[in-house]
């Protein structure tokens, strides 16, 4: 979540607003982070990964995958970006109770 918010801070203008919705569902915790920034053009993420920059694919999707969760990024040009993180409850409890995860 921190990584997603950092991305917004780094890539969007100062007037961009961001919302974070945390949902504690019976079998998973879902965190949705939306901004109303410029959006990410099609192919931009693949391009960044090809150039060796792995911000989203590593720091967000990779971490979630390690914990058995998923991350999806969807973006509409001109309407901002939504990052949705889903983490099964067992993993969420592990994260919350293990010291030193950040």
């Amino acid at each position: 979540m921190r990584a997603a918010l950092d991305n917004i801070q780094r890539h969007c203008g100062e007037t961009t607003r961001a919302w974070v919705l945390v949902e504690d569902e019976p079998e998973l915790v879902r965190v949705t982070i939306r901004d109303d920034g410029p959006g990410i053009p099609d192919g931009r993420l693949a391009q960044a990964a090809a150039a060796g920059r792995f911000g989203i694919s590593h720091s967000i999707s990779g971490r979630l995958r390690d914990l058995g969760g998923t991350a999806t990024v969807s973006s509409v040009l001109g309407e901002g970006t939504v990052v949705e993180l889903r983490l099964p409850c067992a993993a969420a409890i592990a994260v919350a109770t293990s010291p030193g995860t950040a």
């Binding site: 607003r17 919302w19 919705l21 949902e23 019976p26 949705t32 939306r34 109303d36």
Partner: protein
């Protein structure tokens, strides 16, 4: 900027214990074409005056000296079911806001809102629209989740959100406007609004049923008769 439609002639009552703020709101509303039919400085006065003033919309501060905004909302709804309550609160009063909504408030605005935002919220409330902020949408989502997680047996009559309602509330909670939601889901603005409104309706209905059940279980049924707000 205020459009001249029916809502511009709506009758409004302003309830707030800070005279300067109360008068400023009343003045802004009057200038925008509303009929400010009453102002009140506390809950008891609001409940007393509402009968004669017959407001369509009550702009209600949640923090009042004599009783909570939630109680005032409940009392107003009981005595005047057609009154639409727009709650104003400071930040950090989320649980109170949710309780007010369950008691029948249809809108909620932070006291840090601008004058234009207030006028807009009153216009929408007068039009019968639910005035939702992302924060309130998230609260309502959480409340439905809490209700559905309640132990089985208490499950009878527990309201649930449809998939569409959940989808729309999640969008409101992440800052999308009704217009953006309508475009994304290929729905009309009015349909989006109706879905949002329905979620409130379900919570309010559930709340009334629970109150009545509580009253019967505790032998209090007589004290809940319409028109007699508790403590008056």
């Amino acid at each position: 900027m205020p459009d001249v439609n029916q809502s511009a002639k709506a009758r409004v009552m302003v309830v707030d214990d800070h005279p300067m703020w109360r008068d400023a709101v009343a003045r802004d509303l009057t200038e925008a074409g509303y009929a400010v039919v009453a102002t009140a400085a506390d809950g008891a006065q609001a409940l007393r005056v509402a009968g004669a003033a017959r407001p369509d919309v009550v702009v209600l501060d949640l923090r009042l000296p004599d009783m909570s905004g939630v109680e005032v909302t409940r009392g107003l709804q009981a005595a005047h079911p057609a009154v639409r309550v727009l709650v104003l609160s400071a930040s950090g009063e989320q649980q109170d806001v949710l309780d007010a909504v369950k008691a029948g408030a249809v809108g909620y605005l932070l006291k840090s809102a601008t004058g234009q935002e207030l006028l807009d919220a009153v216009r929408r409330t007068a039009d019968g629209e639910a005035v939702f902020t992302p924060g309130l949408a998230a609260l309502v989502l959480g409340e439905f989740r809490r209700l559905s997680a309640a132990p089985a047996g208490a499950g009878r009559g527990v309201p649930r959100l449809s998939e569409r309602e959940t989808e729309i509330l999640r969008m409101v909670a992440t800052g999308l406007s009704y217009k953006q939601i309508a475009t994304r889901l290929v729905l009309s603005h009015r349909t989006v609004q109706n879905h949002v409104q329905n979620t409130l309706g379900k919570l309010q209905l559930h709340n009334r049923v629970e109150l009545v059940r509580y009253a019967i279980e505790h032998g209090l049924a007589g004290e809940f008769e319409a028109g007699e707000p508790a403590g008056s």
